[in-house]
């Protein structure tokens, strides 16, 4: 029986510490302590109402107890103890059960995990895709982002943390097929206790390895309500299914590969006579190569996602754009709600989503207009290309991604919007270049997203969102590094934002116009005790303005001390 890689069991970023011989019982842990000092000042009219300076901080420990009663079974429970600074001897201390799961192998055939599970399938069926506006590599800004991502179980594998049951198993054959693997899951996304019916999300995938080079895939996922679990007569039902193809071949110096996936979705509200039934589909093909000698990887793809394609597992957003930030939630002398910024997204976990949502969540065109729902964003068709290259000596890493998409169905007009998304990143390892023992790294991230539409004056759109992030990290003394970052995010232009009803259908358009400018300048020092333990002292200065928004511009300064330990 070969292992399947699609169920990712308990992806904690922790090391495991053996406590007993035979590892029948062991602990894993993560801990951190941080102190923030913030100061906000508005430009123009001084804000004499909001408390300009705030102090905050906490210490927390995640302690996971792993019990292995026999070689085929493991139980894990993790407790989080958190103390917000300012309490004393228990005041302000919280205890939470952070994780609980059981996993194992039944009869050496079926692998399972019950409780907390991290799961993903294809980008069109079940995938927790990252938002490009949060791209960047600097330790200065990414440290706080990494903390909140850890807290809400977001990771680079783009899995969704769910509660339920997952299992996988497979068969091998001597003729016709090489191997067939199955992976199944069912999770509960809504309890009837909180209104509405019990809602489950379930499905799975089948992987047929037809020959050494060929994989045929089938994915199925369905978000559905259980009838009669509440007084609500309406039950949501949103099945999504797709078939896929993976092919790869090694040819002299080249690795060739091709992927294709196509599928359909159906979204209906059973029992609601006024509700539409939305049916949509998608197609995605990609082919590429990797040249081993030059370390050059390139791919070219095409995709089309129908306007009515609805896939909650793939389209649920990480960010909840309808929320307001926690820090300085109201500001100015009028105490208006402060619109959130990229800086809030780097440090405020309450702006993030942890549960699958039916339909299409709202989004903000300032922070991603081309692919607000990830790869599975409905009503898009076009091409994408990607090139990655690394020098032989490892001094330079380069990557470029280009995506060009058009609306499939016009938004209130036959004129189609065009979306150009260019993302580039470069990492220059100067320490390696000069042959130094210590690192000197310069990183650059550039992303630009353009939305345009021609036509009559009222049809025209021209919106540009742009991210530039430059980061420097210099280990000037053993384990001691100097860090610096400059980050700029701009959103300028106009578009017509589609307003959708409860059934995700466009009912109106809202004119939006932006002249947003956000800039973060930061620096500090980091001492690494080892790869798993670090102490950091950072200063960040963030400026926000958008003269067209009607909100007052502000400057936000922050001193922070972080101590992070992962064991």
């Amino acid at each position: 029986m070969k292992k399947l890689s699609y169920t990712l069991f308990a992806a904690m970023i922790v090391a495991q510490l053996s406590a007993q011989d035979g590892r029948n019982l062991w602990l894993s842990s993560y801990s951190r302590g941080l102190i923030y000092t913030d100061e906000m000042k508005t430009d123009g009219v001084p804000d004499t109402v909001t408390a300009a300076r705030t102090q905050s901080g906490h210490a927390l420990v995640d302690l996971g107890l792993h019990v292995q009663p026999n070689p085929n079974l493991e139980v894990m429970g993790m407790i989080r103890v958190r103390n917000d600074f300012g309490g004393f001897w228990g005041s302000g201390v919280t205890f939470d059960l952070r994780q609980l799961w059981v996993r194992g192998v039944i009869a050496d055939i079926i692998r399972f995990q019950l409780g907390d599970i991290d799961y993903r399938m294809s980008p069109y069926t079940f995938r927790n895709e990252d938002e490009w506006i949060l791209g960047g590599t600097s330790t200065v800004s990414q440290t706080s982002l990494d903390m909140l991502r850890y807290d809400i179980f977001q990771n680079d594998q783009e899995t969704w943390r769910q509660q339920g049951l997952a299992m996988d198993f497979g068969f091998q054959f001597k003729k016709v097929l090489d191997e067939v693997n199955f992976s199944l899951f069912t999770t509960r996304t809504n309890s009837a206790d909180f209104g509405g019916s019990d809602r489950l999300y379930g499905g799975g995938m089948m992987d047929l390895q037809v020959a050494k080079e060929w994989h045929l895939l089938y994915h199925y996922a369905n978000l559905f309500d259980i009838p009669e679990t509440s007084a609500d007569p309406v039950q949501l039902n949103n099945p999504v299914q797709s078939i896929g193809l993976k092919w790869n071949r090694s040819l002299r110096e080249y690795e060739l590969f091709a992927n294709a996936e196509a599928g359909r979705s159906r979204l209906e509200w059973k029992g609601d006579v006024d509700a539409p039934v939305l049916e949509g589909g998608f197609s995605d093909v990609e082919a590429g190569l990797y040249h081993r000698a030059s370390r050059l990887k390139a791919s070219l793809g095409w995709r089309a996602v129908g306007a009515n394609f609805r896939s909650p597992g793939a389209q649920t957003k990480r960010i909840r754009f309808e929320r307001s930030p926690n820090a300085y939630q109201r500001y100015t002398n009028d105490q208006v709600l402060r619109p959130f910024s990229t800086y809030d997204l780097l440090r405020d976990g309450t702006l993030y989503n942890t549960q699958l949502e039916a339909g299409l969540m709202t989004f903000d065109p300032r922070y991603g207009n081309a692919l607000p729902y990830g790869t599975a964003t409905p009503n898009r068709s076009g091409v994408n290309a990607r090139v990655d290259w690394q020098t032989e000596d490892g001094v330079l890493d380069l990557g470029v991604r280009w995506t060009s998409l058009d609306d499939i169905a016009g938004q209130g007009t036959d004129e189609l919007r065009n979306f150009q998304l260019i993302q580039g990143n470069a990492s220059l390892h100067l320490g390696t270049y000069f042959g130094w023992e210590r690192d000197l790294d310069l990183d650059l991230v550039f992303s630009s997203e353009n939305t345009t539409r021609d036509g009559k004056a009222y049809e025209q759109s021209d919106l540009n969102n742009q991210l530039i992030d430059v980061a420097l990290e210099w280990e000037f003394f053993e384990h001691l590094s100097l860090l610096a970052e400059w980050r700029s995010y701009t959103s300028k232009g106009n578009d017509l934002f589609a307003v959708r009803d409860l059934y995700t259908q466009v009912t109106d358009f809202q004119e939006v116009q932006f002249d947003g400018q956000e800039q973060l300048i930061g620096g500090g020092m980091q001492y690494r005790f080892n790869q798993k333990i670090a102490a950091q002292l950072f200063y960040q200065s963030f400026n926000w303005s958008d003269p067209l928004s009607g909100y007052q511009a502000y400057r936000w300064n922050n001193w922070q001390f972080n101590f992070i330990m992962t064991l």
């Binding site: 797709s242 078939i243 896929g244 193809l245 092919w247 091709a258 294709a260 996936e261 196509a262 599928g263 359909r264 049916e279 949509g280 589909g281 998608f282 197609s283 995605d284 093909v285 082919a287 095409w302 089309a304 129908g306 306007a307 009515n308 009503n379 499939i408 169905a409 016009g410 938004q411 209130g412 007009t413 036959d414 009559k456 009222y458 049809e459 017509l496 589609a498 259908q505 466009v506 009912t507 109106d508 358009f509």
Partner: protein
């Protein structure tokens, strides 16, 4: 490699089968485009006989979906019908008119003027249509006063001041030419006067040989409709309508053991106002308060023996007046004028 390309082509086609390319949402041209008139107002027919089931509709076309209002005014009666909507085109689906009225009186056989108004462009367009025969409402007409007073009605008028209880055409009637005018000042009693309409005031052919009004027995299907007009300045009017059932069909009403259902109307606005009541929802009243019906407590419209209209006013409140017209029982729904 060829096989791979075939598969990729196949995948490209599968997912997009049936994907619509129709624009999503309302048209931007409707929301933000400039307004212009593409086709002017036209009437589908110069003359119309509403009583025979004919209808008329109006057409026009604009460059964008816009709010519009059609105002149809009877040049003789002063009746008015208003049709409004928001669309790019006016056609039979959104402007069909069956002769009904928005503001009373009812249309007569007359010329009607149609005005199309588009607020966004302050556009006015006019046309006319000839109403050869006005709309005939289905139902049993108890009173329309077009034939004057019936000697079989029982009418009583107190000997107060400025007393008027008669059929008149001085003011505009709600329907036809005549209405019933009740007025006077009685400073010793609430009752100013009454008009009792017995089933016997109708011919045998109308009553189909019985002693009750020719209505169905389903109280949920029968509606009582009438039109009232209180002159400007009058605020003390009170109309009590009593409907007596002859439960044992002996040709008489006995208040001690047969049902009487009542309606009280106060605070009638100036101008003609339509009142409609489902028969099953009428209550038995005693001094204006609901009480138990005296008989079998079943609403039986097919046993209505007499309808009584009592015009009342507080004796200390002075002069009062109320105009009444077009008392009609309809079946299947309230009167659609």
């Amino acid at each position: 490699m060829k096989g791979t390309l075939k598969f990729i082509t196949l995948f490209a086609l599968i997912g997009m089968l049936g994907c619509s390319e129709d624009p999503e949402g309302p048209l931007l041209s409707d929301l933000y485009g400039e307004f212009s008139l593409i086709a002017g107002l036209e009437v589908s027919s110069d003359a119309v006989d509403f009583c025979s089931g004919e209808s008329v509709f109006f057409t026009a076309e604009f460059s964008k979906s816009t709010d519009w209002e059609l105002r149809i005014q009877g040049l003789s009666s002063g009746s008015e019908k208003i049709i409004s909507g928001k669309s790019r085109r006016l056609d039979a689906t959104n402007t069909s008119w069956n002769g009904s009225t928005t503001d009373f009186p009812l249309f007569r056989a007359e010329q009607a003027e149609i005005t199309l108004y588009v607020p966004e462009d302050t556009l006015y367009m006019k046309d006319t249509v000839s109403i050869d025969v006005p709309k005939c409402d289905e139902g049993f007409v108890l009173l329309d006063f077009e034939s004057g007073e019936n000697p079989l009605w029982d009418e009583f008028v107190q000997s107060g001041g400025q007393m008027t209880f008669n059929v008149d055409d001085v003011d505009t009637a709600a329907q036809g030419q005549y209405y019933y005018d009740m007025a006077g000042e009685v400073n010793w009693d609430w009752l100013i006067g009454y008009l009792y309409v017995p089933s016997a005031s109708f011919s045998d052919s109308v009553l189909q040989g019985g002693n009750t009004l020719p209505l169905s027995g389903d109280p949920n299907n029968v509606y009582v409709n009438f039109l009232l007009n209180s002159p400007v300045g009058i605020t003390n009017e009170l109309l009590l309508i009593r409907i007596n059932e002859d439960e044992d069909l002996d040709g008489t009403f006995n208040g001690a053991n047969e049902d009487q259902y009542s309606i009280e109307i106060r605070n009638v606005d100036p101008g003609w106002n339509l009142y409609s009541f489902k028969y099953s929802e009428l209550a038995a009243l005693f001094n204006g308060q609901p009480t138990n019906a005296a008989g079998n407590d079943l609403h039986e419209p097919d046993k209505i023996h007499q309808v009584e209209f009592l015009f009342l006013a507080n004796p200390s409140s002075g002069y009062s007046r109320l105009l009444m017209d077009y008392v009609v029982f309809t079946e299947g729904g309230p009167l659609d004028p």
